[in-house]
């Protein structure tokens, strides 16, 4: 199968690879997928006091399209508010990366990952209050 240039770019030069301390109050972590299905994404966001995502990191086990979807997502969420980030749709990711139909589930997983990370951060915030 041929990959799009956009997927190859993110795959060969993944952006924002890494890990934040998930115990840190500023950090929201979303881990989605399952090894049994062949893909697991861990997306982490660092949120400032104004509720803006100021940094994001990811690690992904999965095919090239899954890696590219999560890499792209880390670029997109930076500078967004939590609400705004949680609005990102899988179709936008699939379109930007020109994913073929069999790889749409990778973009769905990325959407799930950001939603899970936002939810995790909000839970932490609520627990502090």
């Amino acid at each position: 199968m041929a990959y799009s240039d956009q997927v190859m770019d993110h795959y060969q030069n993944p952006r924002n690879v890494g890990k934040f301390d998930d115990q840190d109050d500023q950090i929201g972590t979303g881990m989605v997928g399952a090894p049994a299905c062949g893909d697991v994404m861990r997306l982490q966001i660092k949120v400032n006091e104004e509720g803006i995502i100021e940094d994001a990191k990811f690690k992904t086990y999965g095919c090239g399209s899954a890696i590219a979807s999560s890499s792209l997502l880390t670029e997109w969420v930076k500078g967004r508010t939590l609400d705004d980030a949680a609005q990102i749709k899988n179709t936008e990711i699939a379109e930007e990366l020109a994913l073929p139909p069999v790889k749409i589930h990778c973009s769905v997983l990325a959407e799930d990952a950001i939603k899970a990370a936002v939810e995790d951060y909000r839970k932490k915030l609520a627990a502090q209050a």
Binding site: G38, K59, C63
Partner: protein, 404 residues
């Protein structure tokens, strides 16, 4: 970029130059282009002679009678002819067939087709070693069973089934036994005089011959009869009509001749290359060889690089041509059934690569592959949350994953 190094000999092989030479002599005006079925002139006689020599070369490789060789277009057609041919011819005796879950699609899909036609099929599950045992076959045989089809060498992991033992079981129960030998013929000895095998499928392109030609071995004693699937001029004793493609058959004959001649030395060389490859990953953490190496063809090895997904691994190896055991490449998310049957967990099944080496592989190719695979695995593990967790001592089985 240099041309990729070829590590997919189990998928297909290049044609040996000696084979290509013989084939090219059967095409043009000055060559042996006649129709082997033409009885009225020299062109036909010479073509027939070439075809019969090729038939003998195939028979010699398998130690059988040339009259037991039926030319086909490849192992897929041979599998179809054997399974449908027997099932239909002997349907008066019964409509039950036995095969295994580790068969090639050409066998499995043919069985599925027969199920839609009212036949019943038992699909045997392999053991943890990837093998089907004679006892499993014996236990599955019923009064109305007409055919057992269990392959010789599995194409994904390279393990060798005990076809001698399965043959004994089938003969004792008076059930026909078909073997898909696409991955074994020409690589390891096959002696049809001693084996209780009634039908055997072969393909030329897995042993340095051309694509588009194969044979079905059909035993004469005890006699096996088939319902033809291709009707026409009654070629191949009525079992497979169609003008014989002289150049293809000559190519298959020649590749069998070479395979027989060089089998021992080639197996030794191929095994050494495979072992060199395997040892190249010896010192890496979390690397596993799949399938029992004691019952294995020399050229195939299936290795799991834990915590790295197979398709992305292949994507980072543009200079190496190989295939993945991860079914992500085939658009379904299920990992290979064969690998699962070995008792391995899903991550490992998704993390496997099949390397297959052959006649034209060099030590330099192997060293290049080792270096690049190691580099790619390291890079992808840096990207892998599972590798992180493994390194942090987290037990992945203790996590509740949200399967999707």
């Amino acid at each position: 970029m240099k041309a990729p190094v070829y590590f997919d000999y189990a998928a297909t092989t290049p044609v040996d130059p000696r084979v290509a030479q013989k084939m090219s002599e059967c095409l043009m005006t000055e060559g042996n282009f006649g129709n082997p079925a033409s009885r009225s002139h020299k062109f036909g006689w010479e073509a027939e002679e070439a075809v019969e020599l090729a038939r003998k070369q195939v028979a010699d490789l398998l130690n059988c009678d040339p009259r037991e060789i039926v030319w086909t277009s490849g192992a897929t057609e041979s599998d179809n002819l054997a399974i449908k041919g027997i099932a239909q011819f002997y349907k008066g005796k019964g409509k039950h067939l036995i095969t295994s879950k580790i068969e090639h699609k050409a066998v499995l899909d043919t069985c599925r087709h027969l199920e839609r036609d009212g036949y019943e099929v038992t699909y045997l599950e392999p053991g943890k070693d990837g093998l089907i045992s004679p006892q499993q076959v014996a236990d599955a045989i019923r009064e109305d069973t007409t055919l057992v089809s269990v392959m010789h060498v599995n194409n994904e992991i390279g393990v060798i089934n005990d076809i001698a033992g399965i043959g004994e079981v089938c003969r004792a129960a008076k059930v026909f036994y078909h073997v898909d030998a696409a991955q074994s013929a020409g690589k390891i000895p096959v002696d049809l005089e001693s084996l209780k095998v009634d039908l055997m499928s072969l393909s030329a392109h897995k042993m340095y011959g051309p694509k588009g030609v194969g044979v079905l071995y059909v035993r004469r004693k005890p006699r096996v009869r088939l319902e033809a699937q291709m009707h026409g001029g009654g070629h191949e004793r009525g079992m497979r009509s169609g003008t014989l493609a002289t150049h293809q058959l000559v190519g298959m004959g020649e590749c069998c001749r070479i395979a027989q001649l060089e089998m021992a030395s080639e197996a030794e060389r191929t095994l050494a290359l495979r072992e060199r490859l395997r040892k190249g990953f010896d010192d890496m953490e979390e690397v596993y060889v799949n399938g029992d190496l004691n019952a294995h063809v020399p050229g195939i090895i299936n290795i799991s690089f834990n915590y790295v997904e197979g398709e992305s691994l292949i994507m980072s190896l543009p200079e190496i041509a190989l295939s993945s055991g991860s079914a992500c490449t085939s658009a379904s998310l299920e990992p290979s059934y064969v690998l699962r049957a070995l008792g391995m967990n899903d991550e490992l099944a998704h993390s496997s690569l099949r390397f297959s080496v052959g006649r034209f592989t060099t030590e330099e190719d192997v060293d290049r592959a080792i270096e690049q695979v190691r580099h790619a695995v390291e890079k992808l593990r840096e990207l892998s949350p599972l590798w992180d967790m493994y390194k942090d001592g987290v037990d992945l089985d203790s996590i509740e994953w949200a399967a999707h």
